[in-house]
Amino acid sequence: MTVATETEYEVVIGLETHIQLQTASKMFCGCSADYANAAPNSHVCPVCLGMPGVLPVINSKAIEYIIKLGLALHCEIPEYSKFDRKNYFYPDLVKGYQISQFDLPICINGWLEIEVEGRRKRIGITRIHQEEDTGKLTHTNLNGEEVTLVDYNRSGVPLMECVSEPDISTPAEARAYLTKLRQMVRWLGIGTGNMDEGALRCDANVSIMPKGSKVFGTKIEIKNMNSISAVHEALGFEIKRQEEELQAGAVLKQQTRGWDEEKRVTVFQRLKEGSSDYRYFPEPDLPPLQLQADYLAQIRTSLPELPEARRDRFIQEYDLSLYEAELLTGSRATADWFEESLGEEKTPQRARATANWILNELFAHLKEKGAELDEAKIQPRQLASLIDLVQKGTITPKSAKEVFEEMFATGREAAEIVKEKGLPQLSDEAALATVVDKVIAESPKAVADFRAGKEASLNFLIGGVMKATRGTANKDVVTRLLREKLS
């Protein structure tokens, strides 16, 4: 019997995720939002530089995008919404405030379903609000002097902040939540969701309390996590750290910590200020939003079939396993590729074959090349014709893999490659009989063994024929011929 000597803790995690919207222009002005490769301060204007007297104007696309995400995450979209000023002094924003939303965000009360170790769980979405991104600060040393350089190209790029309920209980759940959220952003085509480029950024709030406690522990915020796996690892580290502190009798203070990617630890940054310090007030320069039912209905209609619905349909319609369906709906591009390849042949058998080709061959080849699906030279309909050739018995599954290699490398048609390589499957009995006779003549031992009842020797002989025909022989015909000739 084991006796628990240490207190067991319950973990409470909430995630705040900032997501850039992939619009052409900025949130409140016409400057290009494509800041990644632009020369410093080349995508700025009086509005995003906060010059006196300018007026911001809302980008309608950004509003459409945030509503799309809100609807996909089962949020309510209140009819009335407005923007507020969040005041702070920091050079990443020129105005001295960020245009954000305080008490009336565009999306509220939604949820996102995750699955961890076969268990499904809904994580509540408290709110998603619209704001603007900040400028980029570079800290550097110029001729022995420490300075900070500021580039405002990113300042004003549309940014959403999605706040989860503190429903997340483990680092694995946090990882699943972020993976799903990113999948949805990409699925809807509203953002790249690339964490390494800063297009998706996540801060985590984590506290622990003794199991069964009714009082929440001290909330500690972690920042600077640049990948989903970093979030997973940082949370794991922080939970352990807090447990050790509490076990040692320490009192935790509300604070912000940063994830140190190199040392793989969280580091104290500062004690937490209250939100009232931001002195939010309604943005006087922007009229409120009155989101009408018909406008929302129009956006709802424009939503694509969402990942979970499509996954469940794949299972139902094509008899795929949950695992296969999850993988095939990992991105909208993959799901589209799969269904395009299926075409009108929607039988479970065909679906299974297509799924296997994509999940095994295509994915392995892409991974090896470090390429994305949209970079693949082989097209969905071309894979379909390759599968046709196998199903019609024109080529063997083994030759098909060779043909696939060539198709993947060149994007050429299957039939063309088959013809060129001389790969059609040998089903012609007269031709095969010659080869079979030759193999029998060359393998007296295997023939004797088989005749003596050793069934396995037949495989040896089949192998001989396959080898002699470079894998193009129809195995069923070869097997029948061998049995006939040896009986």
Partner: protein, 96 residues
């Protein structure tokens, strides 16, 4: 009535104002009547009125997502007290 010194110091910090002791005392006196004046508004019963966020009756004023030319870099940086190439240069700041 004078304001609590702590309140004056907090407000000064939020506005990034460096006040000396004499100025703080002056603010304690001068800020109080301003706050009292706004306090008068609380005498009105506004429980049945939704908060006003905007005084003009325009709604949903939006623009299409179209890129328009940005300002020329030289104009953008013309007023910068300090610059380094095409960057604005500020005193070192490491942590927000």
């Amino acid at each position: 009535m004078k304001l609590d010194l702590k309140v004056v110091e907090d407000v000064a910090h939020l506005a990034r104002l460096g006040l000396n002791e004499a100025e703080k005392e002056q603010m304690r006196e001068e800020l109080a009547p301003i706050l009292d004046y706004f306090e008068m508004l609380n005498e009105l019963d506004t429980s049945h009125i939704p908060p006003t966020a905007q005084v003009i009756s325009v709604q949903n004023l939006m623009r299409p997502d179209e890129v328009r030319p940005s300002a020329p870099a030289q104009e953008v940086l013309a007023n910068a007290p300090f610059r380094e190439d095409n960057y604005f240069r500020v005193r070192p700041i490491f942590e927000k």
